[in-house]
Amino acid sequence: MPRPSLRAALALCLALIPARGHAQDTTRGVRIGLSYSPGARPGVVVLPVSGPGADSLRAIVSRDLDFGDRVNVIRLDDAALGASTRGDLPNWALLARLGAAAAVQLTPTPGGLHLAVYNVVTRQTALVHDYVAPAVDDTRRWRLAVHSLSDDLEQSLTGVRGIASTRVLFERGRRLWVVDSDGEQLQPVTPVQPLMSGRWSPTGRKITYVLLRPASVVVQNADGGGVRTVATGSGVYVSPTFTPDGGSVSFAHGVDDGTDIYTVPVAGGIPRRISVGRGSDNVRPIYSPDGRKVAFMSGRIGHPEIYTMDADGTNADLLTPLAFGEDAYRANPDWSPDGRSVAFQSRLGGIFQLMTVSLRDRSLRQLTSDGRNEDPSWSPDGRHLVFVSTRGGARQLWVLDVDTGRSRQLTRGASVRLPAWSPRLAPE
């Protein structure tokens, strides 16, 4: 009778591995060696949860894994869900039949969350970890803690950290808002005023944006408050961005002789001019991840194209292959987190579409074709872009998985513009 003995052996084996509590979390953030075909997404089942916030806990983690686009979250109907565990253990046979490589068990604990990941092929506990989390009714902070757990989990399953614990900053109705990466917890972070172009600091604790009246560059806390003006004066201030060390803000500024790119310390000081536009318009600076280069858009040859320059303003160079004719308009560069490409928008047939250009060979790739698509901003995993699209009617935020082309709508309601994807945010 091999089966019962095997099951008994497994049960014994699992019993020896502490399923919760004092588990060593040495495997946190490490691949857990799931068996699945290269190129395929591992099938994952999120087992039923009981306890406070149980339903939303399971729903949030399932959705985070799904939105990450790196695992195949296997959906279970009620019957399958009921049968997916046997006592405290996964129903190995059923999970294997469903094509799961891993099963995830989430348990609310006093003061936190407990995570266990099972390897369905080896029928072993692959990972356990305990997380500190705020109370469920402290919704926004609790959800961020759950999203961080999801990101850990995704790293364990796939080797790449997830992007659930991020937020998107954008403008709607003359104020800046943030929304969690799953489209929940929408909240304003500024009063209504003539403003534009919100961007995150490298830690995600601060944001910068411009006011049109009085024309100025502002830095404030990401949740509101702590407002500081870092540059102001006559003329126009455009498109601020933090330097990679977070200590300065680069922005475009123009008065009487074109618009150029300047840098000013967040702590205060005299803005220093970087670009040499000779009367042309140069806006939207964005640093390469290593901080050595700046991509920006410039009208110096008569229409806007994407350029790069060294961080000190030297060696300005056209990045996008030159476009000609009425359509020639390349704008809004965003440097990918791996440094290898720059996303931007290009007018094609009179309508903006998202493209990337490779830093290696300058090859172009068109990412969108449905509706008007603009203002791309990379996720921290370098695989997703948030952008503004009219594909569903009014201008809304959408998220695109650049690898598969899968997209989802992030916002609904009044028109939005100029989104910026945050870095991964530490639980608060």
Partner: protein, 202 residues
């Protein structure tokens, strides 16, 4: 002065007074009462004189008011004309900051008013249509404002009186997505800072 003379005067004055007081309904004056207190008569005479003065004054005030009203209306019209000329917008071609002929004409009308009123400061605000990107449009709007400023400086207006800013595509006049709306939105607007009335250019 005799009592009688006074009394006559009083009667005459009284009839005058009653005439003056009762223009709408003329009546015969109450001449029968001849026994009149002299003090009362004097008071009466004084009040008649005062009434006459008041009447003349009222007439002259009316006239002055009419003249002043005309002058004020003229002034108001002039101020409105000068203000309108100062704040009249200029329009631009798509993605351009060059001044068109119609824009030059509008600026030509502003220059002498600015020269005649050195106390005025002008804020020039560049706007764009919604095509292109919001951020590049801010820069384009600024370029338009700067072009307008350069032209006025060329006409002799002190640079310190002219400030420039841009609102890009954030404050459209027309919200349509047709060329007509776009053309209206590609503009420079003018905000006039002025203390007191504007002088007519010589």
């Amino acid at each position: 002065m005799t009592r009688r003379k006074t009394a006559h005067l009083v009667i005459a004055a009284a009839s005058l007074l009653s005439l003056a007081a009762c223009r709408k309904k003329p009546e015969t004056a109450p001449v029968a009462e001849v026994t009149v207190d002299v003090d009362a008569a004097r008071r009466s005479a004084d009040s008649i004189a005062a009434a006459n003065v008041a009447q003349r004054r009222a007439d002259s005030i009316d006239a002055a008011n009419r003249a002043a009203a005309t002058a004020a209306a003229d002034m108001q019209r002039l101020q409105a004309e000068l203000s309108a000329a100062l704040s009249q917008r200029v329009q631009f071609d798509y993605d351009r900051d060059a001044l068109r002929d119609d824009a030059r004409a509008v600026l030509e009308a502003k220059a002498p008013i600015l020269l005649a009123n050195p106390g005025i400061a002008l804020a020039i605000i560049g706007h764009t249509d919604e095509r292109g990107t919001a951020e590049y449009n801010l820069a384009l709007g600024q370029r338009r404002a700067a072009t307008v400023k350069r032209y006025l400086v060329g006409k002799g207006i002190a640079e310190s009186r002219l400030s420039t800013q841009s609102l890009g595509d954030s404050e459209p006049l027309a919200t349509g997505t047709d060329e007509g709306s776009y053309a209206q939105n590609r503009r420079a607007e003018f905000e006039v800072s002025v203390n007191g009335p504007l002088s007519r250019p010589r």
